[in-house]
Symmetry: D2
Subunit: 310 residues, 4 copies
């Protein structure tokens, strides 16, 4: 197979202040599908076109934020190999195996902390529950989708301090590539990195920030700009807190809107963006063009975007 | 890197009856950009968001059709390895190395014939000429795009007899996967195969057909369904011969329109389609649902689609 | 007020062979809202953004087709005046007043037959039931819309013999204008007329046809081309009989798809089209360009479009 | 004819600080078509689907803003009648006839000042120059459109003090209707009025403001939300000053983006909005919902929108 190693973002576990309010948001507003609850009370959800059992896990806690983000790898052998590589790299800390079944219908996961302070997981096995349509003679989408109805969990943007270390870990150990980056000052220090393990412009992204382990947003994929408008309308009809949008990113070219879940965790839904290939020259943005890089139309950052994280 | 081996369709060389008329079509109607002409008189073109020197080569000849389709591999080492694998496979015939430079700005290519009779090439080196924008602080698309202005050459659909042999070659030797297929009769014989080497629903496709080495269409990527309408309008404004569309495919879910170049070679422009991952369960269509599989709205094939090939 | 006289198509009463199947189609597939049933068993429906009580009435009968189409006029005084003008014109036959209440929540209607054999009505009063949102601080559309969810009943296309007489009645008595027409032969005989009483490119249209009083289609308004695609997807998901589309009309420029209700009555949903003003020069199409006039992309008529009427 | 009296906004004359910079903006960025220059040096432009000679006139001056806005009436007789009605109304001041030919290819105009201080004109004759396509067998749009390429000049929003007087003049003398309004405080004083003379949600709008005769924006019509995105991209590519958008209005439901010409005059391009009929119940917004009324997604006004006028 041509896509190997780490193949995609597989899940994100989010802390929410009130599980009921969060479920209403992620199921009825965002439009994910609930697939299970575990003995700890965590709620599992998936986007409609994902085949795996879940991609979002909600955990009630006293403080919002991200517990961890997990990536699917192509095989158990790759999982073992990458666990070994991570141990050997000296770049990861707090490494541990999480037993199969700790997440519903999921095999064992290898969890580690990257230099920016975020917990990341790798896993090779999660039960396929399908996308609501048969594998023989399907329709093009299922009936009865709700809310914004994104087709997939797409990526996270995370804020943390040691951006260089995290970039090194993702590119040198996990096989990601730097599709785009933002550099600052005459030394062209990296202040943002957009990393891909596939043909998407990014599968995970990081922005340099004084604190470790902060969560900026989890992003979900829509079909097109018309669906971004529909999402914006839903945000108002449901009185969801809007951050910014609809607009376009310069980085990735994606069409986007940002908003907050009831606990203050930021979500994005977006569409578009180019196809990334490993021989594509990386794009670089300088900090004087950061506004246009992030919000292509406004050409300036809103204060929220830089400072509100969970 | 996560995407390795054969990474994408890199070029298609088409035979056209009149080079001037073909250039007008591919440059002004389809909206490709001319990047060169060689000593043989061949014209080289690229879609605007491709970085390689060319993806379409037009050669004047007495008969329309496809000379060959070429795939980019990730490295010269992979090119050598796959050439060896092809030789060892017993599935390819007419194998030869084409010298570097035979195509403008392109390294050496390994050409072979697959069991359906089509000439396929692999190459590892083609000069990057960029997408008309700087690599630092770019815009989201260049100015002065013309015609339908697809961003990329995406795939070809080819007709030929020994579908099983070609499927075997692409999946077992070149590392492609079968994303979708159509089967006929109680034996569920494959009559169509949609093969991917990436996260696209197909990078090449084949339909079983009594004759060897027939060309059905070359396809180019648009951003969205609104661009498909614009393409349809251009087809009429320029009095291009329409095959069918705008419509949607059941297979791949793509939004599409088909038309003919002045020599009778079929083109497609399309948008949409799902993201393919190697662990996605393959989709199968039965021949009684073939109409819906190909043209999701009409739910029947037009005669042209099955019989007109070059 | 600037728009006076006959102001819009207000309703169409359709004959259906099976009321239950028809209701499923018009409510769940097309997405109209049921607003009542009368003692005769007729079912009343409206599109979501209409404020009047109903715009479609379904009547079970042994033969499909249209009973009549009704237009709203601006006032009871105008209703009386136009009834008198019609009587004086010598162009209408079978004139009668239908008592208030014969249609639910509707005032008295003046019914007459036009030279092409169709029954047309005028009315001045129908109860306002609103569009599902308050008149103070509304949202932009209500929740829980179903199916294709057109916002309005827009127009009908009718087939009949004495096109000249009907054109004369609509333009000279009812104040319509001829926005576009199709002419045939060296005498440029009118074979199609697109008539407007507003700023829409047509509020009613007629095509010359040997038989009197035939119904071609009732049309409903969608927001945009993306909604036309969604309608096309629904047509297939619900296995509705498709006539043609998605495509564009040359006449009106509208983006369109045609399909049939379970009784064989044709429906259209469409979006777009220009703004008509009374000083806009009329457009004329010649019969050699009829294909492009009707189906701008195909540039030829399908046999169904010309021959299948109810 | 069903649409009579004042039928549409016909032109707006804008003051610009530098005629060359303004022409570049209105022709190459907005995408209007230059149709003439007069002896005073004024530049005349039209949107592509307008048939009249011009809809925008640029005049170089020391201060930006609007000289006047003109409405087309249905006939010379109506022009005379409305001039008389205005004189009799006691609501208009500074009334004068402007001679035919003072604007290129335009008949005589009746100019008057409304209570908010704005100069408004009526005219009945302006030469038809067409929309770049023949009246027989046209295409659906001409080739070689540039920039945002709106199809029509649509409306203006003006700021001034005596809103009640201006509303009275437009509704009681000129036959406009109040489609939507914003009211403030327990007395529900009108602070904004959206007035229509057609089936559009507004042909002119006013917001209460301490100063007389201020110009907020001139608005131009796009086909759809995808064109609004294209306009937003052009705004950035051409480094035009963005005000706000892309977003949606609660009032009118239109999809919109605002930006400034080089002199600081605000422009809008928008798509969508409902069809207005004279029997449609008027919509009222209260000032506590003003944010959502104006910017449906943000649900708050940006400071610019309320304070920056020319």
């Amino acid at each position: 197979m041509a896509l190997t190693g780490v193949i995609r973002p597989g899940h994100v576990q989010l802390r929410v202040l009130d599980l009921g309010a969060a479920l209403t948001h992620y199921r009825d507003v965002l439009g994910l599908i609930e697939t299970g609850r575990d003995a700890q009370g965590r709620i599992y959800l998936k986007a409609w076109d994902e085949h795996d059992h879940h991609s979002v896990v909600l955990r009630e806690a006293d403080e919002a934020g991200m517990d961890f983000m997990g990536f699917r790898v192509d095989s158990p052998a790759t999982l073992e190999k990458l666990a070994g590589d991570l141990k050997a790299s000296g770049l990861a800390t707090d490494m541990q195996w999480i037993a199969a079944g700790e997440h519903l219908r999921t095999g064992k996961r290898f969890r580690f902390t990257v230099p920016t302070g975020h917990a990341i997981e790798l896993f090779a096995e999660k039960e396929k529950v399908g996308n609501g349509m048969p594998y023989e003679n399907p329709e093009v989408y299922p009936d009865d989708l709700k809310g914004m109805a994104p087709s997939r969990f797409d990526h996270c943007l995370l804020y943390g301090d040691d951006l260089d270390g995290t970039m090194k870990l993702f590119t040198e150990v996990l096989g990601f590539e730097l599709a785009e980056s933002v550099v600052a000052g005459p030394e062209r220090m990296h202040i943002a990195a957009f990393l891909t393990c596939s043909t998407k412009p990014h599968d995970i992204a990081f922005i340099r920030h004084p604190e470790k382990n902060k969560f900026h947003h989890a992003s979900f994929l829509l079909d097109n700009w018309g669906e971004v408008l529909k999402a914006a309308d839903i945000i108002t009809k449901k009185r969801v807190s809007l951050d910014i949008g609809p607009t376009r990113h310069g980085i990735t070219r994606g069409e986007t809107i940002y908003f907050f879940d009831p606990s203050g965790n930021r979500n994005e839904v977006f569409s578009g963006g180019y196809i990334y290939y490993p021989d594509k020259p990386p794009l670089v943005w300088t900090d004087d063009e950061l506004g246009r890089a992030i919000f292509y139309h406004d050409r300036k950052l809103n204060e929220n975007f830089l400072s509100v994280v969970t």
